[in-house]
């Protein structure tokens, strides 16, 4: 037995639990350990989309239309697929501009227009009233039904009940009180209500569990699974047609499509959806999970809708029970009172969740975008001079909440009974869909203008009022019905339900077609025909190009004027309170590495912009602009200047790309430079060594020359023999000096590439013979055996003849110099192979140790270093020879080991130079 006291007590206990959750979440948030910073909580809070409409109304719709309830959930699923593109952008824009509501968003986009914000607020409030009334109706109906348990009694004409039994009014009042406690306990500059979000997420779980419970009960408890249930329904002729319900229904497919589109808009632009999805979002990354988790939620809560609908139709075949109540009446008729109570709580969750978030969102809009801009402009109120406005702001919001719920109640009384739950909700959907052109156009099209948005919204809303609101009031008896049947003044073309003769469509589709044509048409046409103000131009750019900007200071570029820090501070303190203003200034200062209030701040464009953004968080962009303008002397920017700044900005983007590229190139260049520097350092060291060595090599013969010259000069009595010997030494050392100088110059020429190469066809056989002939005298003196093994004929090489002789001379004189002093022999071999000539010069000297094989080819390295007898060479000969050979594409190397002679070899490519 369920007593009304028990139901009321349970309801309050449940609301108390919600409040406890919210309170706990707020405390955690204040402590900086937010519990809602989770993609799962975010996804569940989005499920505030599922209201009493979903909970009770879907079954009602399914009972008459079959799958007709589904577009309401498929549409959002499809829309959410676009969230990655659309919602991410809206989120980014809202965070950068501290947007506080949908109205604030639209107003802000179109030049912070207070008029537009007000219009959006009015449309939202009027448009949402039917939706709120739906929740009141659902809660009061379910309460009334449950109270009469175990009887099944339909609550008809509730409006006629005396006021103290008017459940809907009580529900409205209790929800108002609850919402005030939830949403307006204090003023948050960012409009974050973490406690509310936590409670909403919890409610989403409760309503899902309750609905799944009753669904499972009907499907598996009353019937024997899906198959059994559908089979029994198919057996009833009336229900059989619902198995393929899209055929034959008036405008079946058109209606389906339009409902899908409508729901796509609703999931974006219902004020409560905007509130939880955008305003309460704490991390853009939560979208990643929500994109699929929320659709999963919608799928889950819809799985049992059709089974419950068919179960209800089978259980109550006479139509005495309203299909909107099947969810509750099925457990009741089966005498499951606890399940019925759970269903009631689930429905209460769905309704309260919607009402709380919706009214908070609407009250914020009413306060920030409708009343404050007006109040601030009224000089007689002297609001500008009030020290603390936070109480006023909270007061306005609380009043707005009460007012909105009372209006919802009023609508319920006026029109609530004439429509089913879903039909009531769809009227609201159609209203908020009017925001779509202005918002979507606003974030993707810079050309969208303030006047365009105003015209579009006005036109769309007018058509909506005429085709949906007016018929609703007429059907409820508040307006004459002949208005619907014959049109105003009897003009048939203007009949609200068949405007311009368009008939055969359901009411929503009909209204959507005409309102969208009017809305989009006016928005685009007017936007294209007016020119934007500087403010609009700036805001359009800030919104559309949000991903191209960095940081919050984007707007600061557009401000020019003078202000004082104390003025700005007291302005912020008036609206946010002293503590919040101090915190805001401290944060600003610390970002600049300063301490507030000890260090002086500069009241520049950035600070003014910062204060405006902070203020916008509390009172909306339009109001914030008015307030900031009251304390700063602003010089308005001309449209040309704004354009200039924007062009500059886009140039900066291009420039920064270029800069990035440049810096990458620079890095590469730096690496190259470092390498080059290393090479240069090495070269420098080599040059130093070279000079040092050359100097040494020059000084040594000079020393002998000078010493002997002085001896001869000082001592005329030197014997003739000795004098001759000394002069001989002087001559030889002078020759050595000359040779050295020549070779250094030669080397310098070769290395710098300035050497003259006189090229001709050179026969290496001849070169060897000529060299040997030239050395004939020396060879005879030293008594060295020379063997030349030369082939009959070899190919010619293209080379400088003198250079070739130089190479041969060098190798041969080295060989002669180093070969065995007593039994010396030298062997020369010439061979041709694989397009190459190879010349070997072998001696039987003491050889060269392997570690010196490369070193001997470097400058000034003298093999003689290891010998007792220092040879009189410059140390450049082998180096130059190798350079010459390599110049002609050949190679020069030595094979030897200590004690076994040495073989110097080089190759030269024949024919054309390789």
């Amino acid at each position: 037995m369920l007593h009304s006291t028990a139901i009321v007590f349970t309801s309050f206990a449940y609301l108390g639990l919600l409040f406890a959750i919210a309170y706990y979440a707020d405390k955690r948030a204040d402590a900086g350990r937010s519990i809602i910073a989770s993609p799962y909580i975010y996804s569940l809070s989005l499920a505030v989309y599922a209201t009493a409409w979903t909970f009770y109304g879907s079954v009602g719709r399914a009972a008459s239309d079959g799958v007709g309830f589904l577009p309401i959930y498929i549409g959002p699923t499809l829309m959410i697929a676009l969230w990655w593109v659309v919602m991410r952008k809206i989120l980014r824009i809202s965070k950068q501009n501290r947007i506080t509501s949908l109205a604030d968003f639209i107003a802000s986009r179109y030049g912070k227009s207070a008029l537009l914000g007000g219009l959006v607020t009015v449309i939202a409030v009027i448009g949402i009233l039917p939706y709120i009334s739906l929740q009141l109706k659902a809660v009061s109906n379910s309460f009334t039904i449950l109270v009469h348990y175990p009887e099944i009694l339909m609550p008809t004409r509730v409006g006629e009940a005396p006021i103290r039994e008017d459940t809907a009014l009580w529900v409205a009042m209790i929800l108002a009180a609850f919402t005030i406690v939830f949403g307006t306990r204090h003023l948050d500059a960012a409009e974050h209500h973490q406690g509310m979000v936590a409670a909403i997420a919890f409610e989403s779980l409760v309503k899902l569990v309750a609905f799944l419970a009753v669904g499972a009960f009907v499907t598996f408890g009353i019937y024997d699974g899906f198959g059994d249930l559908f089979a029994r329904a198919a057996a009833v002729p009336k229900l059989h047609a619902m198995m393929s319900p899209l055929e034959g229904v008036a405008g079946g497919y058109a209606s389906w499509v339009w409902l899908t589109i409508l729901s796509m808009m609703a999931i974006m632009f219902l004020p409560r959806q905007f509130q939880v999805a955008v305003i309460e979002n704490v991390d853009e990354k939560h979208l990643n999970k929500a994109i699929w988790l929320f659709p999963v939620y919608m799928l889950a809560i819809n799985v049992f809708v059709l089974p419950i609908a068919f179960g209800g139709l089978l259980r109550f075949p006479d139509g005495s029970v309203d299909a909107d109540t099947f969810v509750l009446t099925l457990p009741m008729v089966e005498k499951h009172e606890w399940l019925a109570l759970l269903v009631f709580i689930g429905g209460l969750s769905a309704a309260t969740g919607m009402v709380i978030v919706e009214t908070i969102a609407l009250s914020t809009m009413v306060c920030n975008d409708l009343l404050m801009p007006v109040l601030l402009r009224l000089r007689s109120l002297r609001l500008n001079e009030r020290r603390d406005l936070t109480r006023l702001l909270l007061g306005i919001r609380r009043s707005a909440i009460v007012l909105i719920l009372l209006l919802g109640y009023l609508y319920f009384k006026l029109a609530g009974e004439a429509y089913a739950l879903v039909s009531i909700g769809l009227i609201s959907f159609a209203a908020v869909a009017q925001f779509a052109p202005s918002v979507l156009g606003g974030i993707f099209w810079k050309g969208g203008a303030r006047l365009g948005a105003l015209s579009g919204l006005t036109a769309g809303f007018a058509v909506w009022s005429y085709t949906l609101l007016l018929p609703a009031l007429a059907r409820s008896g508040w307006l004459p019905t002949h208005l619907l049947e014959q049109g105003p003044l009897g003009i048939e073309l203007l009949r609200p339900l068949q405007l311009f003769g368009l008939s055969g469509l359901d009411q929503i589709t009909h209204a959507m077609i005409w309102s969208m044509i009017a809305n989009i048409g006016a928005y685009v046409a007017v936007s294209l025909s007016v020119s934007q103000s500087a403010d609009e131009h700036r805001q359009a750019s800030l919104f559309v190009d949000v991903f191209k900007q960095t940081g919050e200071v984007g707007g600061a570029r557009f401000w020019r004027g003078t202000a004082s820090v104390p003025d700005l501070y007291s302005l912020l303190a008036r609206f946010l309170g002293v503590a919040a203003a101090d915190a805001a200034f401290a944060e600003y200062a610390s970002a600049k590495m300063l301490r507030w209030p000890d260090d002086p701040l500069v009241a520049d464009a950035e600070l003014v912009h910062y204060v405006e953004v902070q203020l916008a968080g509390a009172i909306g962009a339009a109001s914030a602009r008015v307030m900031v303008a009251s304390v700063v002397k602003e010089e308005a920017l001309t449209i040309g200047e704004v354009r200039e700044i924007l062009d500059e900005a886009s140039q900066v983007v291009v420039y920064s790309h270029k800069l990035e590229q440049k810096s990458r190139e620079l890095e590469a260049a730096t690496a190259e430079l470092r390498e080059a520097n290393d090479r240069l350092t090495e070269l420098d060291r080599l040059k130093d060594d070279f000079i040092s060595t050359v100097t040494h090599e020059l000084r040594t013969p000079l020393t002998s020359i000078r010493a002997f010259t002085e001896i001869l000069l000082d001592d005329p009595e030197v014997e003739v023999e000795q004098r001759k010997k000394f002069l001989g030494i002087i001559t030889k050392e002078a020759e050595r000096l000359t040779r050295l100088i020549n070779q250094v110059l030669d080397l310098a020429k070769i290395e710098s590439g300035k050497a003259d190469w006189v090229e001709s066809d050179v026969d290496m056989k001849e070169v060897i013979s000529d060299t040997l002939a030239a050395m004939d005298q020396l060879l005879k003196e030293k008594d060295i055996d020379i063997q030349a093994r030369l082939p009959e004929q070899v190919s010619v090489v293209t080379a400088d003849l003198d250079r070739m002789i130089q190479v041969m001379l060098n190798l041969l004189s080295n060989a002669v110099k180093f070969c065995d002093s007593t039994n010396g022999w030298v062997e020369i071999a010439l061979a041709e192979r694989d397009g190459c000539l190879r010349i070997d010069v072998r001696d039987n000297g003491r050889g060269i140790s392997p570690e010196d094989h490369e070193a001997i080819f470097s400058k000034f390295h003298q093999v003689g270093d290891t010998l007792i007898d220092k040879p009189h060479g410059s140390g450049l000969g082998l180096h130059i020879s190798r350079q010459i050979v390599e110049h002609y594409g050949g190679r020069m190397w030595v094979e030897s080991s200590l004690g076994s002679g040495a073989r110097f070899s080089f190759t030269l490519p024949t024919g054309a130079r390789a």
Partner: protein, 123 residues
């Protein structure tokens, strides 16, 4: 008794010139043509002065100088470094390891003889 001077240099022509000069000045001259020979000669003939070329085969003049200075009984031996390397760093290196003088090639013969005479305290 004439003083003994050891010339250690691998350039025969320079050796010839210096040898001639010193002999004419009345010194007893010994010759070494590399570092090893130089040390051996010092051992054998116990010279009063050594003329050391820096860049010698087998053992550099620096090394020879160091070896001589390591022996207490050779403390009286005067050392003159002769080098074609005239940079300040090399001069100071030579002096720091115990040479009495550092003479850069090419040198004035009169100067050299005067310096030698000075070191050996002869007028």
């Amino acid at each position: 008794m004439s003083k003994k001077i050891l010339i250690a240099d691998d350039e025969p022509n320079i050796v010839a010139a210096v040898e001639f000069l010193l002999q004419r000045s009345g010194y007893e001259v010994h010759v070494a043509r590399n570092g090893d020979e130089a040390l051996k000669a010092v051992e054998d003939c116990n010279p009063d002065l050594v003329l050391l070329d820096v860049m010698m085969p087998l053992r550099s003049g620096y090394e020879v100088c160091k070896r001589i200075r390591e022996r207490a009984d050779w403390g009286h031996i005067k050392i003159i470094m002769l080098s074609a390397k005239g940079r300040d760093a090399e001069v100071s290196k030579g002096l720091s390891i115990g040479a009495d003088l550092y003479v850069t090639k090419p040198f004035s013969t009169r100067d050299l003889i005067a310096k030698i005479n000075g070191l050996l305290q002869r007028p």
